[in-house]
C-alpha cells in the first residue's frame, strides 16, 4: 500500500463524477476495458492466483502441517515444491496459505471499504459537527501507525483466527478512503440533481445511496482493489512477525519459519521463494488492474 493511498487521494477530486451510467455507455466501458492491456494483464495474474488458491488444496497429497516427508528435500515428483526443514509439504502449505491471503484480503479490503464509505459519505454529506468529529477521527487513525496498533492488539490475543486478523486490518486501514470519499461527496452535494432530490423530501441516506454513490462507483471499486492489495501485504507482514492466525498456515508464516530455521543459509529456496512471489504477483496484479481501470474510467489518461 505504499503508493496507492496518496496517489489515489491526490487525484480524488479529478477522477470522480461526470460519469453518469448511461445505457450505451456501459458497452463503451466494456470495449475499453477489454482493449486495455494493463487491466487484462492484471486480471489474468489475479485470476490465475485465485484459481490456484481455490483448486490447489484439492490437489495436495499431504496436509499442510503434516510431518513425515524427507527433511529439506528439493522439489520432486512426490513433493512438487519440496519440503521444509521438518519434512512438511511446501506445496500444501503454499496453496493453503494463498487461500488464507485471498480470504484476509477480500474480507479486510471489503470491510475497510464499507467503513470508509460510511464515514466518508456521512461526513461529506452531513457536514457541520458530524463532519468535524468524523474528520478528527479519520485524521487520528490516519496518523497513528496502524501497524503498531495491530502489533499490540494481536500480541494480547492468544487465539487468533483469519477473521480476527481481517477485522483488525479493516479497522485500521479505512481512513484514506474515507477522506477521499468525503471530499468527493462534498463536491457532489452541491450539484443540482442532489438539490432536487433533497427538495422532494428524499431522506439523506437514500440520497447518498441513490444519487451520490453511483456517481463515484468506479472510484469506490478502485478503492476496494487498492485496499484488497494493501490488506494482503499487511497480513503478510503481521504473519511474518509471528502475530498471524494461530490455527492455520499463511504465506507470511511460511517466510517466518524459513528465515528462523536458516533456510537462507542452507539454500532451501523452494521454501521462501513461492510465498513471497505469490504475494508479489497478486498485489502487483491488483495494482496494475487498478491503473488499467483508471484509464478505462478516465478517458484523459488513455494512451493514444
Amino acid at each position: 500500500m505504499t503508493i496507492a493511498p496518496q496517489a489515489a487521494e491526490a487525484r480524488a477530486p479529478a477522477a470522480p463524477a461526470a460519469r453518469a451510467p448511461a445505457p450505451g455507455h456501459r458497452h463503451e466501458m466494456l470495449y475499453f476495458a477489454l482493449r486495455n492491456k494493463k487491466l487484462v494483464f492484471g486480471l489474468c495474474l489475479v485470476s490465475l492466483m485465485l484459481l490456484t488458491a481455490i483448486a490447489g488444496p484439492y490437489l495436495a497429497r499431504h496436509a499442510p502441517m503434516e510431518y513425515g516427508g524427507p527433511p529439506g528435500a528439493a522439489p520432486s515428483r512426490d513433493y512438487w515444491l519440496g519440503t521444509t526443514m521438518f519434512g512438511q509439504d511446501v506445496y500444501a502449505q503454499f496453496v493453503n496459505g494463498l487461500r488464507v491471503s485471498f480470504l484476509v484480503g477480500a474480507l479486510a479490503g471489503g470491510l475497510a471499504a464499507v467503513i470508509g464509505m460510511l464515514v466518508g459519505f456521512t461526513a461529506g454529506y452531513r457536514g457541520g459537527w458530524t463532519d468535524e468529529l468524523l474528520n478528527m477521527l479519520t485524521n487520528v487513525v490516519l496518523v497513528i501507525p496502524t501497524f503498531a496498533v495491530l502489533l499490540v492488539v494481536a500480541a494480547y490475543l492468544t487465539v487468533r483466527g483469519v477473521v480476527i486478523e481481517a477485522l483488525l486490518i479493516a479497522f485500521t486501514s479505512w481512513p484514506w478512503a474515507a477522506r477521499a470519499i468525503r471530499a468527493q461527496t462534498f463536491s457532489l452535494t452541491s450539484r443540482d440533481f442532489v438539490d432536487v432530490a433533497r427538495l422532494s423530501g428524499v431522506p439523506w441516506w437514500k440520497i447518498v445511496l441513490k444519487e451520490i454513490a453511483p456517481m463515484m462507483s468506479s472510484y469506490l471499486f478502485m478503492a476496494f482493489i487498492l485496499m484488497f492489495g494493501g490488506a494482503i501485504l499487511t497480513a503478510a507482514t503481521l504473519d511474518f512477525i509471528g502475530l498471524g492466525p494461530t490455527n492455520t498456515i499463511s504465506l507470511g508464516m511460511m517466510m517466518n519459519y524459513s528465515v528462523t530455521n536458516a533456510a537462507l543459509q542452507l539454500g532451501f529456496w523452494w521454501w521462501f521463494i513461492p510465498p513471497g512471489l505469490a504475494i508479489m504477483v497478486v498485489v502487483g496484479g491488483l495494482y496494475i488492474m487498478n491503473v488499467g481501470l483508471d484509464e478505462v474510467f478516465n478517458p484523459r489518461l488513455r494512451e493514444m
Partner: protein, 330 residues
C-alpha cells in the same frame, strides 16, 4: 499559518492520547486475566515472579478505580517509566529501546529520504516518455508490490548466502565491540547496506509510480496545455508540472511513514539487525508485554514527530498555508 500548525498539533496531541489509551486499555480489557497469565508464564524465575507481582499490583493498582489507574499510567509515562522487561528481567524497557533505536533510525531515515528523492526524480523523468516509461512502470509496480521481508530474504539469500558479497546477520561484525573506530564504522556500513537496499527499493517503486502518475495528471491540466499552446518548451512545462506534483508527494510522505516503519521492522528481522524489529520479535516470542507496549509508544512518538516535520516542510514549500489560505488538506 499558526492556525494550520495549531490544528495539526491538536490532531497529533489527540493521536498521542488515543495511542496511550490503547496502550493502557488493551492489557486490561482483553479476554482472560493478563496479570495472572503474565506472572504464571515466568514462574520459573521465582525472584522475578515476586518482583513482577508486586510491580503489577503497584502499576495496575487493581483496587483503585479505573480512572486512577489511568492517571497513574500517565504519571509513570511522564517519568519515562515504561516498566521492566520480562525476558531480560531487571532491565528497564527504556534501556533496551534506547540501545536498539539508533540502528532502526539509521536504517529508516536514509531509506525514507533517499527513496523519496530518487523515486520522485525517476518518476518525473519517466512520465509520458515511451521507452523510459515502459521500463520504470513495470519495475516500479513489481517493487511496490513486493513484501518488504521477501525482498530482504532474496537479497540476503543471493548476495549474502550464495555469493557471499555481504554479511547476512547482525549490525556489525561479532568480533568487534561498539566503539568510534574506523574499523567498526566500516563494519557497521557493510552490515547496513543490504537491509537499507531492501527498504530503499520497495519504497522507491512506490514513489516513482506515484510521481509518474501525478505528472501525467499535471501535464493534462489546463495550465500545462495553455503553456504548450503558448509555445513553451516542454522542459519548462515539465518543471511546473513537477512543482505542482511535489505537493501531494510531500503529503504522501507523511502518509506512508507508518508503512515504511512496518517494513523496517520485518526487514530487521530478516537480517537479524539489532534494531527495534528484532527486539519486538524477541518480545513477542518471549511474551514480554511491557517491552511490546514500550516499543509501541516509541514507534508512535517517532511517527508523530516525523509527521510534524513533514508539516513544517509543507508550510515552507506551499505558500498557501503561510498566507492563511488553508487548503482542505489541513
Amino acid at each position: 499559518m499558526t492556525r494550520y500548525i495549531a490544528r495539526k498539533l491538536l490532531i497529533y496531541g489527540l493521536t498521542f492520547v488515543v495511542a496511550v489509551t490503547i496502550d493502557w486499555a488493551i492489557p486490561r480489557f482483553m479476554p482472560g486475566n493478563p496479570v495472572e497469565n503474565l506472572v504464571a508464564r515466568i514462574s520459573l524465575k521465582p525472584e522475578a515472579s515476586e518482583a513482577l507481582t508486586s510491580y503489577y499490583t503497584q502499576a495496575f493498582n487493581l483496587d483503585d478505580p479505573w480512572w486512577k489507574e489511568y492517571l497513574n499510567f500517565w504519571v509513570a509515562l511522564f517519568h519515562g517509566d515504561l516498566g521492566r522487561s520480562i525476558m531480560q528481567f531487571p532491565t528497564p524497557v527504556t534501556t533496551l529501546i534506547r540501545r536498539s533505536l539508533p540502528y532502526t533510525l539509521g536504517l529508516l531515515i536514509p531509506a525514507i529520504l533517499l527513496s523519496w528523492y530518487a523515486g520522485n526524480k525517476v518518476g518525473a523523468l519517466a512520465a509520458r516518455r515511451k521507452v523510459l516509461d515502459n521500463t520504470v512502470l513495470p519495475v516500479g509496480y513489481v517493487l511496490t508490490a513486493t513484501p518488504y521481508m521477501w525482498l530482504g530474504i532474496l537479497l540476503a539469500w543471493l548476495l549474502g548466502s550464495t555469493w557471499r558479497v555481504f554479511p547476512v546477520a547482525g549490525g556489525y561484525d561479532f568480533s568487534l565491540r561498539p566503539e568510534w573506530s574506523w574499523v567498526f564504522i566500516q563494519s557497521l556500513l557493510y552490515h547496513w547496506f543490504l537491509p537499507f537496499m531492501s527498504l530503499f527499493l520497495v519504497a522507491f517503486g512506490g514513489w516513482a509510480i506515484g510521481m509518474r502518475n501525478m505528472i501525467i495528471y499535471e501535464l493534462e491540466s489546463d495550465y500545462a496545455h495553455y503553456l504548450e499552446a503558448l509555445g513553451a518548451p516542454s522542459r519548462l512545462v515539465r518543471k511546473y508540472a513537477f512543482r505542482n506534483a511535489m505537493l501531494p508527494q510531500i503529503t504522501g510522505l507523511a502518509l506512508v511513514i507508518g508503512v515504511v516503519v512496518a517494513g523496517n521492522l520485518v526487514t530487521e528481522i530478516v537480517f537479524s539487525y539489532p534494531g527495534l524489529g528484532s527486539l519486538i520479535l524477541n518480545a513477542i516470542q518471549n511474551e514480554d508485554y511491557f517491552l511490546i507496549q514500550g516499543i509501541f509508544l516509541v514507534i508512535i512518538i517517532c511517527v508523530l514527530v516525523a509527521n510534524f516535520v513533514v508539516d513544517i516542510v509543507y508550510v515552507l514549500v506551499d505558500p498557501r498555508t503561510r498566507t492563511g489560505m488553508v487548503g482542505k488538506r489541513a
